[in-house]
Every structure is written in structure tokens, then in C-alpha cells.
């Protein structure tokens, strides 16, 4: 039975485990280990500091990368009963600045590894901010600035119990996804939303305090919330690989004896191509979760060969429905395990509902755009009426989020992903709205005709974004456009190829013919 989570918050899952298993290892960064007790103590001191200096802002930021500050920073912000906003030193300043401004944060926990980045970010910020570091450090001169305050946590100081009024409707985290209008969409997930996910997933799959969890996702990607909090809800150990792990994942899994894996499915494809998925080589894995893109059967089979005792679970769900809203444990013997070579996305977690909005001439209820509502689904974008109106719809007095995903319901009731209805694509699991790229180039350059396409040479190759710019007079410099994209867009949104072209090709309906463009110009 699912417990009543009405009054629980995300941080309570960590706190309960920390009370039960104070001496167990909660976090392993490379060779360094940190116990639950230590994380709890540090995060309470951070919370204490935040509460002293920050006003009533609902969010505080975390600017750190794969370091203690990143993980304890999140816990500290949550302990202060605020939602966390992960910033990303791998994103351009402009993107981070926008995230800071849109979320209204005044305080950030900063990892030392991000000092240089902070130095370059600060001139882009207007107003004054508070920066919290885990220990006393010598600030570089360019950081010393009268506008901003710097705080250093003293871990040795007596800790103080922090308890402040909070409600499950308070936000747990705020993330941004790509939007067609050129502005990222802000998704604020409440404690209620995320607790519902945690209760469901930990009820359906049997984790234990002996488990060792992977952490492959950047904190700006909501699947990282699963890594951190499914792990910490169990008293288990979260294993953070060195930054340069890249292709060394199988070796890392073996050396660290990981038992729970979670990544995007394209990682299987990548490792497979390098022949790094040797039969039986990942036998420590008990569960392997995949999410973020469609999981194809061949990838599932490749992974199972390498990890023969692992359950393979396909998760599905947009950020707006909190990490993942449906699940399916892949079973080859199941007659409805896949459709068109793609593994089923299964059934919704308890407490959520779907409706298939008929697209084209299909009977209602069998196939259509997937609409979602329920405990895990947000009701609106954060302070963004325009996108809220566009992406949410009232049906029979229920507020649904329109996923833009075309989905079919099988005879068994399981769901199958068929494709996208709009210009949104997935690059390494990240959502990219191609219109956002076109919009940016148009806005910054005044150029008129721009088309971005997502092109895959074949089923198994990595897709790339290609941006065509109509330029009959040959005035456009691809390099300048590329620099522009690098300045404003995260790395995964930057087109791999920018092609100024003489003419666009159109089909009979007057729409640009992307296929013809690709054939002619690539």
C-alpha cells in the first residue's frame, strides 16, 4: 500500500535514511566516501546559512559539478525548505544567467570547481547575490565585488536543528526545457509531485541499502533526481564517476560493483559500437533503467547480454510529469513487449491518468497525442502563462498536460511510443525544440529563412542537428552563426552543421521539404 505522502517532502526521504543508517556511505565521489551522517550535518549547516541570508524566495541555486558541493548543496537547499535550481557550468553564461533570472534565486551554493566559471558569470549578473562555499577559500581578486556576499561553511561548528514551516505544495526543484518561442520553459516540480514518483518506483522495484547506484545524468536533467533520491531513500550508496568517464562506463560499473544503473538508451548503442558490452561483463547489475529517448529492442538485447541478471526497465515521461510517469519491465516472452522495434513504455504509475487525443482519422482511445494528469503532473509552467496556455488543456474539468508524443494503446493496455507531433527532438536524451534554434538565429541576425532538421544517417547512428539558412547572395558566415549558437545555447542544442544554401526545396503543399534539402546538400 502506498503511504499517505500528503505531508512529506523530498528531503524527508533522505532524512529518514540518515537517521536509520547514519554510518552508511551515502556518496562516493571517485575514491572519496561520505556517510549519511556527514551529508546530513553539512546540509543542515548550509540550510542554516541560507535561512540567515536569504529572504522568502522559493528557490536557491546550486552551481557545482560532480563534487560534494553539488550533492550536499541540493540537500542544503531542500533542508532550508526551498526548491533547488541546478545551474550548469557546461552551459553558456547566457543560459545560466537566464536560469538565474527566471527563477528569482538570490543565493547559490557553489563548488570550488566552478570558481573560474563563477568569475566569468558574475559580470553577466545584475543585482546582488549570495554565494555559499563549503569551506573557507581564498577568493580570486576578480570575484571580490561589493555587490555580492560570500559565505563559508564551517563544518566543525556545532550543528543546529533546522526546522521551518513548509508545505508539500512547496517546490522541490526547478528545471528548464527547450521552448519553441526561444525562451526555455520553466518546470517547477512540487514536493507532492516528486514524492508520488518516489513512492511508486520504490514500491514496484525492490531496492535495498546494499545497492550501489549510478549517476550518469547532469543535475540539469531531471532523471538525476531519480539517481539521488531513489538511492538515498533506501540508505544506499550513490557513485559519482570522474568527469572524464566517457567511454569507460563498463569498467566503472565493474570496478565499483554498481547494482542499479540508469542512463539514456543511446549510451548502449555507443558502447556497443566500441564493442565494450562483452557478454556477462556487467553481472553486478540487478536493475537497469532507461529513459529520455525511445529504447529499441536491439539495444535492450545488447544490454541484457552484458548484464544477464539485470531487470531492464523502460521508463517514459517528460520533465513536466516528474522524472518518469510510466514504466515497463522488458520481457522478451511478452507478446506485446515492443512495437515497431521500440520497447513498450508500459503503464502509468498509480495516481496518474492519461487520455489519447485522437490525431487524424483514428478512432478515439487507441492512438493519439498522450495527455497526462495526476499526482506527478504539473498544472502550469512557472510564471509563464503563454506556454501554459499552449501546452495544457481542460477536458471534462481535468487539467491535462499535452506531451506532443504520439502514443498507441495496445490490447493489453500497455502504451507504445510512436513518435513526435511537433518540432521537438531528443539529442542524447535532452529535449530540443528545433524552432528555438531558428528563433535565436533569426532574432540575433535578422536572417529570414532558417530550417533546422534532426538527421540520422541510419537507425543506429547518432543524430545531428543541421541548420539550413537561405542565403542566395552568399553573405552568411557559418562560423559566426555557430559562435552565436555556442554563446546562447547549451552544447546539445548547437547545430553540428550550419549550411548557408542557395535555395530551399518545397513539397507540393508549399512546405519545406526537409528530405530533399538533406539529399541535395549533404
Amino acid at each position: 500500500m502506498i503511504e499517505d505522502t500528503t505531508h512529506r517532502r523530498l528531503i524527508d526521504y533522505f532524512r529518514a535514511a540518515a537517521q536509520k543508517y547514519p554510518k552508511r556511505i551515502a556518496l562516493e565521489i571517485d575514491e572519496q566516501q561520505y556517510s549519511y551522517d556527514r551529508l546530513a550535518g553539512l546540509s543542515e549547516k548550509i540550510a542554516d546559512c541560507i535561512l540567515k541570508i536569504d529572504g522568502h524566495e522559493p528557490f536557491a541555486g546550486v552551481l557545482a559539478y560532480r563534487s560534494l558541493a553539488a550533492y550536499v548543496g541540493i540537500l542544503g537547499v531542500l533542508n532550508a525548505s526551498k526548491g533547488y535550481v541546478p545551474l550548469n557550468p557546461r552551459f553558456p553564461f547566457e543560459r545560466n544567467r537566464k536560469m538565474i533570472e527566471r527563477s528569482g534565486i538570490r543565493t547559490m551554493v557553489v563548488g570550488e570547481e566552478c570558481l573560474d566559471f563563477l568569475g566569468e558569470l558574475i559580470p553577466h549578473l545584475s543585482g546582488s547575490y549570495n554565494f555559499i562555499f563549503l569551506q573557507k577559500i581564498d577568493l580570486p581578486d576578480d570575484l571580490k565585488n561589493d555587490n555580492h556576499q560570500f559565505y563559508f561553511i564551517n563544518e566543525k561548528k556545532e550543528k543546529r536543528e533546522v526546522e521551518i514551516e513548509s508545505s508539500p505544495d512547496d517546490y522541490a526543484y526547478l528545471l528548464f526545457t527547450s521552448g519553441s518561442t526561444g525562451e526555455p520553459k520553466a518546470v517547477a516540480i512540487s514536493n507532492r509531485n516528486v514524492c508520488s514518483y518516489l513512492d511508486n518506483i520504490t514500491l514496484l522495484y525492490q531496492f535495498s541499502s546494499a545497492d550501489r547506484f549510478s549517476q550518469t545524468f547532469d543535475l540539469t536533467f531531471d532523471l538525476s533526481v531519480h539517481d539521488l533520491f531513489v538511492c538515498w531513500s533506501q540508505g544506499a550508496c550513490l557513485c559519482i564517476p570522474p568527469v572524464e568517464t566517457g567511454f569507460a562506463w563498463p569498467k566503472y560499473i565493474r570496478e565499483k560493483k554498481l547494482s542499479v544503473w540508469f542512463s539514456v538508451p543511446s549510451l548502449i548503442n555507443m558502447l556497443g559500437k566500441l564493442r565494450l558490452l562483452k557478454a556477462g561483463s556487467l553481472s553486478s547489475l540487478r536493475y537497469s533503467f532507461f529513459c529520455g529517448e525511445a529504447l529499441d529492442e536491439r539495444s535492450a538485447e545488447d544490454w541484457l547480454k552484458a548484464a544477464p541478471v539485470s531487470g531492464i526497465i523502460n521508463l517514459y515521461g517528460p520533465t513536466e510529469s516528474t522524472i518518469a510517469i510510466s514504466h515497463y519491465q522488458w520481457d522478451k516472452a511478452d507478446s506485446e513487449s515492443a512495437l515497431n522495434g521500440l520497447v513498450s513504455i508500459g503503464r502509468l504509475f498509480a495516481g496518474n491518468n492519461f487520455y489519447l487525443m485522437p490525431a487524424w482519422e483514428k478512432p478515439a482511445g487507441e492512438e493519439g497525442e498522450l495527455l497526462l494528469s495526476g499526482n506527478q503532473v504539473i498544472n502550469e509552467y512557472y510564471q509563464d502563462q503563454m506556454n501554459t496556455q499552449r501546452q495544457f488543456i481542460q477536458l471534462n474539468h481535468i487539467n491535462y498536460y499535452k506531451t506532443g508524443d504520439l502514443v498507441k494503446k495496445g490490447v493489453s493496455g500497455k502504451l507504445f511510443y510512436l513518435g513526435r507531433l511537433d518540432q521537438e527532438v531528443k539529442v542524447s536524451g535532452y529535449r530540443v525544440n528545433l524552432l528555438e534554434i531558428n528563433h535565436l538565429i533569426r532574432e540575433k541576425t535578422g536572417l529570414g529563412q532558417i530550417i533546422s532538421v534532426f538527421h540520422k544517417k541510419n537507425e543506429r547512428s547518432a543524430g545531428k542537428i543541421i541548420t539550413f539558412i537561405l542565403d542566395p547572395e552568399k553573405r552568411v558566415k557559418a562560423k559566426e552563426i555557430s559562435e552565436l549558437c555556442n554563446k546562447y545555447l547549451p552544447w546539445y542544442m548547437v547545430p553540428e552543421v550550419i549550411l548557408p544554401v542557395e535555395k530551399f526545396y518545397y513539397n507540393v503543399n508549399g512546405k519545406t521539404n526537409k528530405q530533399a534539402m538533406i539529399e541535395h546538400y549533404l
Binding site: K251, L274, S428, A478, K479
Partner: protein, 85 residues
């Protein structure tokens, strides 16, 4: 296979990409890292490697190479292919 064959293959394979970012084939040498430079993401890099293996008719044991972890730069990449001669 010679070093110049590898260089030629890489520059042809990446020609459109290099043009977009304003690099020339001559920039791709020595410690130039395909991934850290932002020229390719890891998936695209693996696609290039697969194409190279096919083109030169060799199979690299990446289990061994990954441990060294410097095959993502031009020098390292060239070396692991030349070893196959």
C-alpha cells in the same frame, strides 16, 4: 594505412562540421581533442570511429584503449589505428 590516410579520412569525414565552426583540416592535429573541443559529442565521435574502422578494415580493442583514455584526441586516435598495421 599511413598517418596521412587517417588525417585525410578524418578531415573529409568532418568537412561540413569544420566549415561550420570555421576550422580547417590543419587545425585537427596533435592534442586536438574531438570531444573536449566541442567539435563532436561522444555519440558523433563513436560514429566517426565506426566509419574509420570500416574504411580501414580494422577492429580496435577499445577495452584496452579506454583505460588510457586519450584516444579522443587526434594523436591518440591516430596511434591506435596505426598500431593495427
Amino acid at each position: 594505412m599511413k598517418e596521412k590516410d587517417i588525417r585525410q579520412f578524418v578531415s573529409e569525414f568532418l568537412s561540413k562540421r569544420l566549415e561550420s565552426v570555421g576550422l580547417s583540416a590543419g587545425d585537427i592535429r596533435g592534442s586536438f581533442d574531438f570531444i573536449q573541443s566541442g567539435l563532436l559529442d561522444s555519440m558523433a565521435f563513436v560514429d566517426m570511429i565506426s566509419a574509420m574502422e570500416e574504411h580501414f578494415g580494422v577492429e580496435i580493442d577499445f577495452e584496452e584503449e579506454v583505460a588510457d583514455n586519450n584516444f579522443t584526441n587526434m594523436k591518440g586516435l591516430t596511434q591506435i589505428f596505426l598500431k593495427k598495421n
